[in-house]
């Protein structure tokens, strides 16, 4: 059965499912008892079934001190010894405080110890960009983590993907980081109420097209779809592809599309340098060069910090206008007046 869920509701639903299914799943994070960010009691569950604290109790819903390094490190240690923690780090900009634990322990321990450890742990964090929350709250740092082998990274861009991917992440025996774009949180759609799993590493074609491929990531996905709709009116047929997970990355899906269209624009809300867009561009320039008929264009956030002022912020991120403009420039079509 399907019902309408917001992205945030879907995240809550996946968490509830996983906690019901497996006692070893616990939630750790700041202010998770009070459900401050709306994910530990989300969807229709809160009113109807009580919030997570009531459902699962204090032993499994663990309100922590503001100590990101130990939250992350303790979750890793717990995951190495029998639990399956789901860690709520709230804002993505707070993950840096625990970077040593991410890179030196979580990403390395299994490999370094010859497979003795497995570390089934999920870290949720939200990217509040575009909401005038200032430079300390607007980061989109997934590219930094993509450079760290041993982590899996997912960036669902719809409620259905959020539910199915988060569930797979929780059931996965490897550490997974999920980056949620807050501009997507209110997004609603029909979502399957039963349990389902979307495998990591399989992208999704949102719209078929023949002239150009637009690979879009996270919050750029709905913008890319809107751009494609706009382009369609101009007679340009754009295919929109969302890799959904960045590690593993569905490169075959991307190459398949580029092989068909011969042109590529990558829309990625991260800072440009060493972004996911850069990686996708490099992969295509290496493995699908023969199919390309035009330069690859990245539509990213410029390499600057995020200003607070509403007059300055919004237009920095990839949007339907900038994505469509990039597509036109790749196609050497001039902008309609």
């Amino acid at each position: 059965m399907k019902s309408v869920m917001s992205y945030l509701g879907a995240i809550g639903a996946a968490q509830r499912e996983a906690m019901d299914a497996d006692e070893r799943v616990i939630i750790i994070g700041e202010d998770v008892e009070a459900n401050v960010y709306g994910t530990t009691g989300a969807g229709k569950a809160r009113a109807a079934e009580g919030d997570f604290l009531q459902r699962y109790g204090k032993n499994r819903i663990r309100n922590t001190p503001i100590s990101e390094e130990i939250i992350v490190g303790a979750a890793a240690g717990a995951a190495m010894t029998g639990l399956r923690p789901l860690v709520d780090l709230s804002y993505s900009s707070f993950t840096y405080l625990a970077m040593d634990q991410f890179v030196n322990q979580i990403a390395k321990n299994r490999f370094m110890f010859g497979g003795q450890a497995s570390i089934p742990v999920v870290f949720r964090s939200a990217m509040f960009y575009g909401l005038n929350t200032g430079a300390h709250h607007s980061d989109r740092p997934y590219p930094m983590y993509m450079n760290v082998p041993g982590l899996k990274i997912i960036t669902p861009a719809s409620p259905s993907d959020a539910k199915g991917l988060l569930r797979s992440a929780i059931d996965c025996d490897d550490p997974v980081l999920i980056f949620e774009a807050c501009p997507l949180w209110p997004m609603k759609e029909e979502v399957e109420e039963d349990e389902y799993w979307i495998p990591l590493g399989v992208g999704r074609t949102l719209r078929e097209g023949t002239d150009i491929t637009i690979v879009a990531i996270s919050g750029a996905v709905p913008e890319a779809v809107a751009a494609a709709e706009e382009l369609a009116k101009e007679g340009i047929s754009a295919e929109v592809f969302d890799p959904r997970t960045l590690v593993p990355m569905d490169i075959e899906g991307i190459i398949k599309s580029v092989t068909k269209t011969g042109r590529l624009v990558v829309a990625d809300p991260a800072h440009q340098t060493c972004s996911a867009a850069s990686e996708i561009s490099a992969l295509v320039a290496e493995h699908a060069w023969d199919s390309l008929t035009a330069p690859i264009k990245r539509v990213t956030t410029p390499d600057t910090q995020i200003p607070f002022s509403p007059a300055l912020e919004k237009h920095l991120y990839p949007n339907r206008l900038s994505i469509a403009a990039a597509a036109r420039s790749v196609l050497k079509v001039s902008q309609p007046v």
Binding site: E30, L97, P307, F308
Partner: protein, 330 residues
């Protein structure tokens, strides 16, 4: 120490407390009316703790803070208009609209930066104290942070470094009993002030943080200690925020007890200080009313300034990112 304070000084203290109160009340309204994007975190109820600490510092001394970000600079003497313009995101803002609430600084009064990242500015204050020590310029640095931030590891690294190098820095913990929805006692093992002893530095707990004089005296002692080369101090001030964690935030749960709230609301630092000034015949009700009225006018002026100022020019997104800009391929 308090006995040596001049009338002028005491009235300035009250003026700054009232400034914080009225500025934050206005900012709160503006958030609700959509005149400020995002949110603000007010220092309403904590004015004695903020101003008591700031006025124990000299004008040249340094300070860092946190998301509760306007009280501190106002306490240190910042003019209100550029602060208000900053909250609105205007070009005339103290950070040219780039910082906004939570992320602002006013170097003109020694404010090296409030930080949206909890605890993250404590090392900055420690470093300012290091430069003061090496340059031998006599400046003291003070780091404001909350009871929540007191569980970030960098505080202990900072206390240790400042302890061995005898850096002129004061770690000032604003213990308002909660970090967002989380009661301090549920996430804090032991007493924050007592954590200083293990680092061989004084740890003082000011139980009555609603009283300007008590806060001022404790911080002043620490400032003198720092200035004379004896090193850092940790001061925990017990206080209470009267408003919600941030303006406009609505939590489904009531994490603060109604009686507790009522008890603390009765300990309004501005009222307490007003009563004290009158009782001690330091000032008359009229004088204090005049201060209130003039601050009201200041806040009104700041509001007008924030409204009439232009938004910043969006043409150069890289402005001030580097001191020496370079060409970017976008």
């Amino acid at each position: 120490m308090s006995s040596q304070l001049s009338k002028e000084f005491l009235l300035e203290a009250q003026r700054r407390m009232v400034r914080i109160r009225l500025f934050d009340e206005r900012a709160s309204k503006m958030v609700k009316r959509g005149q400020i994007p995002g949110t603000v975190h007010t220092s309403i109820g904590q004015e004695a703790q903020v101003v008591g600490a700031c006025m124990a510092l000299g004008d040249q001394d340094y300070m860092t803070g946190n998301h509760r970000s306007h009280g501190h600079p106002i306490g240190k003497g910042s003019p209100l208009s550029p602060l208000m313009a900053e909250l609105v995101g205007k070009a005339t803002g103290v950070c040219k609209g780039r910082g906004g609430s939570l992320h602002l600084a006013d170097f003109s009064v020694g404010s090296l930066g409030e930080s949206g990242i909890v605890g993250s500015s404590i090392p900055i204050a420690t470093g300012a104290a290091l430069s003061s020590k090496i340059l031998n310029n006599g400046k003291v640095a003070l780091a404001f942070f909350g009871d929540g931030a007191a569980n970030q590891g960098n505080l202990y690294e900072s206390m240790n470094l400042a302890g061995i190098w005898k850096l002129p820095v004061i770690f000032l913990c604003e213990n308002n009993l909660y970090a967002l929805s989380t009661p301090a006692h549920t996430v804090t093992s032991g007493v924050i002030a007592s954590r200083a002893a293990g680092f061989d530095i004084p740890g003082i707990r000011v139980e009555n943080g609603q009283n300007f004089i008590e806060v001022f005296d404790a911080v002043k002692t620490a400032v003198e200690r720092a200035r004379s080369g004896e090193g850092p101090s940790l001061i925990e001030v017990v206080t209470y925020r009267f408003n919600e964690h941030s303006e406009g935030l609505r939590l489904g749960v009531d994490y603060r007890d109604q009686n507790e709230k009522a008890e603390w609301l009765a300990k309004d630092p501005i009222v307490l200080f007003r009563d004290y000034l009158i009782q001690e015949s330091i000032a008359t009700a009229e004088e204090l009313d005049a201060i209130f009225a003039s601050v009201e006018a200041e806040v009104e002026e700041a509001f007008e300034f924030s409204q009439s100022s232009p938004f910043p020019d969006a043409s150069d997104p890289y402005l001030n990112l580097y001191t020496e800009p370079f060409e970017v391929y976008a």
